[in-house]
Amino acid sequence: MRRINNWISGIAMAILTAAVVFAGCAAPSGSPATTQAKSINLNGAGATFPAPLYTKWFDEYNKLTGVKVNYQPIGSGGGISQIIEGTVDFGATDGIMTDAEIAKAESKNGPILHIPTTSGSVAVIYNLSGIGSGQLKLTGDVLANIYLKKINKWNDPAITAINPGLKLPDAAIAAVFRSDGSGTTYIFTNYLCKVSPEFKSGIGNAKSVKWPGDIGGQGNAGVAGQVQQIPNSIGYVELAYAEQNKLAWASLKNAAGNFVEPSLTATTKAAEGITLPDDMKVMLTDSANPEAYPIVGFTWILVYVNQKDKDKGEALAKMLWWAIHDGQKYTEPLTYANLAGSTVTKAENAILSIKYQEQPIITR
């Protein structure tokens, strides 16, 4: 019996060791690609919002050129800190780097570029029985007051005044916010700060803020899940999520006074109502364009001007050039908005400024 028991432990250990050895041996054999001299691997990490688009892009780009671009969504904050740390070749973010972050990056590796690749908008979703998508109208001010908990009931005069035809219930508004740090919250609060001084002084603009609201949802799925389940609730998710999952959204009054539903064209238009600085570090919220949806923001890829590896730098610059031109045809099928023409021109200039040993890497 003892001897047999001895066997059992031996066998159990042997299996585990075998599994481990198998795993260990198998790993290097899967890596001939990395040992090939000419193959180029780029690693990127950051924002979650554009990740599906980037995955599509880099898959297509690999088929075209053989360059392997591995992009992984770890969050915009992660994208920024990783490009500063130098653990990735490019970062990606939905929010603009702060001055402190830029200073930190530049002291290590020189100037850093924000290159917009696509833009996204945030849809305001709700759960009101009998009121379909697009029927509820909201202004920025009302929306801000709902999230400040100053407007507590759906039949508040401020809401009924802009929705004369709707039967709004005499019920408390359950305000759902996004609890994880996210670019979506960054764009949403950026808009609310622009339209409501009170929101700006009381809450502010960031990826996570101190919400006075009721319930926090984790991710788009969390917010949408709560809004779908809790009657008389309101929330905000990124447009792609609302559209793909057929959620009812509100029309918002833009800066020109029109009520606009979120859509890809209304998202692209937003960039045309904003003066775009050369460094492209600007939020597209509350655009002056009459057709623009008001809660819109760019998502950026972060790269250093001075590349340390010629081959990698060249691959990176070419990939970015491809992304803002040919890559744009993949945006709309995946519910991302095209870059407006004016943006593409400025982005081109930025990409042309990427250098290796003081020499531009690509020319027009």
Binding site: S9, I11, A12, I15, A19, A23, A27, Q72, G78
Partner: protein, 281 residues
């Protein structure tokens, strides 16, 4: 409690409690069936051979599987076991067989506290000691992170199981003049093997499904497994990202992958136990 009616009442009470125990078990299994059933219903359209033999595809393209991520999970779990099993087992043996009461309670304390560290923090730690100095995400750093989660579970379950081996066995062996280390490995460990295997399997099940520590270490890979010093994909990481994505295609794949992950762990579990029980006959 005296007389016939007292005994009868005690009998009734006993029966009631035993039935409650059965109901408790049924409830737990019901929850598992509910969750697994839900993943199955939502992911069934993706459960096919392609799912385990094909690499992933970008959203919008039909098909695609999770071959690379399944492979990655095997490698990560293997790596973590390679590190955690010796450390955890030896710690368990030390606690059960050699440690004095003070040292034992200190080390047990450490194990219990390590077991309570949120997994994301373990990821942050592995990032700080491996990813940052190496300037690269890697399978290795993820293996270390998972191992740190695994060690206390293995150590504590090993200790508990070893302790339960009757003293008489140990004493009998000692009386035969066998060395203590041989007794430990040859008598006590085998005597506790089912408990130890249970502990290891629990630990493997736990780390196979861990997401948070992988985000800052394994990162994920769009181009398959590229060696231990490169980023690597893993099933839970992909499940996490797909489940929270906007696209129903990806959401379905996440559910299918979750189902698959559980089946995989179940499979490993069954094989290990079948082999060990067949050997004991």
């Amino acid at each position: 409690m005296k007389g016939r009616s007292g005994y009868f009442r005690r009998k009734q009470f006993s029966r009631l409690m035993l039935v409650l125990c059965g109901i408790a078990t049924a409830c737990v299994i019901l929850v598992l069936i509910l969750i697994l059933g839900y993943t199955l219903v939502n992911g069934v359209s993706y459960l096919s051979l392609d799912f385990i033999t094909q690499p992933s595809k970008p959203v919008g393209e039909v098909g695609g599987g999770m071959r690379d991520d399944i492979y990655g999970t095997f490698i990560l779990v293997g790596l973590a076991s390679l590190i955690a099993l010796p450390v955890g087992m030896m710690t368990g043996i030390f606690l059960a067989a050699f440690a004095g009461p003070k040292a034992a309670s200190a080390i047990r304390f450490a194990a219990d506290i390590l077991a309570g560290v949120p997994s994301i923090i373990v990821g942050v730690f592995a990032y700080a000691i491996l990813v940052r100095p190496m300037h690269s995400y890697s399978a290795l750093s993820a293996g270390v992170a998972l191992a740190i989660i695994m060690i206390p579970v293995v150590a504590r379950t090993a200790e508990e199981s070893l302790r339960l081996v009757p003293n008489s066995q140990r004493e009998a062996a000692l009386a035969l003049g066998i060395n203590r280390w041989r007794i430990t490995l040859g008598v006590i460990v085998p005597g506790a093997v089912t408990g130890i295997v249970t502990g290891i399997m629990l630990a493997v099940a736990r780390i196979a499904g861990e997401t948070a520590p992988l985000i800052f270490t394994a990162l994920g890979s769009a181009f398959g497994v590229q060696g231990l010093t490169q980023p690597i994909g893993a099933l839970p990481l992909q499940i996490y990202r797909y489940a929270l994505s906007p696209y129903t295609d990806w959401q379905q794949q996440a559910w299918a992958a979750a189902f698959l992950l559980v089946i995989l762990v179940l499979g490993i579990n069954v094989i290990v136990r079948l082999v060990s029980s067949r050997r004991s006959k």
